[in-house]
């Protein structure tokens, strides 16, 4: 729920690589916007209560107010030229520029289940997401990945459905 403010995510590609010139104002603005959403939500809530003093709105106000203040502080830091060093991960180089195609492919893999899980079912969704992620990691064995994904998805579906988890039908669109 936290990124709905138009924060211009795709811009992040530049953030990591470009050094001193990078001024990601949108980060501070996004934090302020998030705080604003909380403050807006708190206006309809009681701030105090008869005996506990603390109403349902107080914590919302604190969280929202805190975010707004911190967002402003972040903007000040950015104005002063705060550096953002991308974190180092095992297989990723923090000083590398983001590869938009790979990121896009991975994002599609993550988004896909929202649209397919209730129609195509878990095994096929797993197969497609698996292949897309593998591809975003520059795997070129398309067919093999499809097979791996299908096996993993199917095996997991049988095992965990058998254990009683509700994973939906095998292929809902076909009715089984």
């Amino acid at each position: 729920m936290s990124t709905n403010p138009g924060s211009g995510l795709p811009e992040t590609g530049k953030g990591g690589g470009a050094r001193a010139v990078s001024r990601p104002w949108w980060l501070g603005l996004a934090v302020i916007a998030l705080g604003g959403v909380c403050l807006y939500g708190s206006t309809s809530l009681a701030q105090s209560a008869r005996y506990s003093s603390i109403g349902p709105g107080l914590f919302v106000t604190i969280a929202g107010g805190g975010l707004v203040i911190l967002g402003v502080m972040l903007l000040v830091q950015i104005a002063r030229g705060e550096q953002f060093e991308p974190q180092d991960a095992e297989d990723a180089a923090g000083d590398m520029k983001a590869n938009p195609v790979a990121l896009g492919t991975a994002l599609v893999a993550v988004l896909l289940p929202i649209f397919t899980i209730e129609t195509l079912g878990l095994p096929i969704t797993a197969m497609l997401s698996f292949t897309l992620v593998a591809r975003s990691f520059s795997s070129r064995k398309l067919l093999l990945d499809l097979v791996y994904g299908a096996i993993l998805g199917t095996a997991a579906w049988f095992l965990f459905s058998g254990l009683g988890l509700q994973l939906g039908a095998f292929l809902p669109i076909a009715g089984f």
């Binding site: 008869r50 005996y51 095992l159 459905s161 058998g162 254990l163 009683g164 509700q166």
Partner: protein, 317 residues
């Protein structure tokens, strides 16, 4: 040691691992674990299985809070139109929907069966100065704010029982200091450690702690005294209050008619089964069955009745 017997676990594992096709009903328990709805749902389904009425698996989900409206909202969200999806709910839900201005309506769901009515009890700590209900009400009148009372979620039967008791005892209802607790376990510990001066809950959640001598039950909201509970009814104590915490089963919104008919029938059979009678006895629940369409009518009437009570006591404007 019987060799075959030793292999049973292995056989079970094999059956599980190969995903032996088994019917599965999901049952929403819209309360935190350890509470009354939790027990009702689990015990009813178990008795149904024991009695051979239902033979599939049961998948319980506990989603507590706000008198069941959170759980029922999730139930409506996730299970609409599903064939085998049930939810436990009760009188508390009726009030909570009003209180919370919840967008769900009990008419959204398919009424399957009312199963029990459990009566409320009020308890104080074992070494509390209040020996009788009248003494407690006097204290409530003298200092309503300083007499913190705990119980289930806001607008539920516990709070209604307190409000009605207060009304009957000429205590201004608006001054009551009622603190909703997340679970019966927390109400019990709150009474015992002194955070709460008194607490309301169903008989089944308090009985064993009274038996252990940790709390003292001052009164019961039933029309007659309850077996095994050494306490008068509110009426006997001079307060004309009778509140039942009925519990029932709802089917998913738009549950297919065939499945609906099966579940109404299943619970009817359950109500007549030996296994269920045994559960009722061990849990101290009073049988109070009503099925299908009749239950639907009852829910509609109760929505009006409880709504009026909430208004009378000033919980809803």
């Amino acid at each position: 040691m019987n060799f075959k017997k030793a292999l049973l676990p292995l056989a079970m594992f094999a059956a599980l691992a190969t995903g032996a096709a088994q019917a599965q009903v999901s049952v929403m328990l819209p309360a935190n674990p350890g509470g009354g709805w939790d027990g009702t749902g689990r015990q009813a389904m178990q008795a149904m299985i024991d009695a051979g009425i239902y033979s599939g698996g049961v998948n319980f989900t506990n989603t507590g809070g706000a008198g069941g409206t959170i759980g029922l909202a999730e139930f409506k969200n996730s299970q609409s139109g599903k064939a085998d999806a049930l939810a436990i709910f009760g009188a508390i839900t009726v009030g909570a929907i009003d209180m919370n201005k919840s967008p769900i309506s009990l008419a959204d769901f398919r009424p399957v069966a009312r199963l029990t009515t459990e009566y409320d009890v009020i308890a104080v700590k074992a070494d509390s100065p209040y020996q009788t209900l009248a003494e407690f009400v006097a204290a409530l009148k003298a200092d309503p704010g300083g007499t913190a009372v705990g119980g289930g979620s806001a607008g539920g039967v516990d709070q209604i029982a307190l409000a009605l008791l207060a009304q009957a005892g000429d205590v201004p209802v608006n001054d009551l200091n009622y603190i909703p607790q997340a679970s019966g376990a927390e109400t019990v510990t709150g009474i015992i450690n002194g955070t709460l001066v008194a607490g309301f809950s169903g008989v089944s959640e308090f009985a064993q702690f009274a038996e252990q001598g940790r709390i003292r039950i001052l009164g019961v909201t039933a029309p007659e005294r309850l077996a095994g509970i050494d306490a008068p009814t509110f009426k006997e104590a001079g307060y004309d209050v009778e509140v039942g915490n009925w519990r029932g089963v709802l089917g998913s919104p738009n549950m297919p008619d065939d499945n609906y008919a099966v579940w109404v029938e299943n619970f009817k059979k359950l109500n007549e089964s030996e296994q269920w009678h045994k559960v009722l006895e061990t849990q101290g629940w009073a049988q109070n069955y009503l099925g299908g369409a009749e239950f639907g009518q009852f829910i509609a009437d109760e929505t009006v009745r409880i709504g009026a009570v909430l208004k009378d006591v000033g919980l809803v404007d």
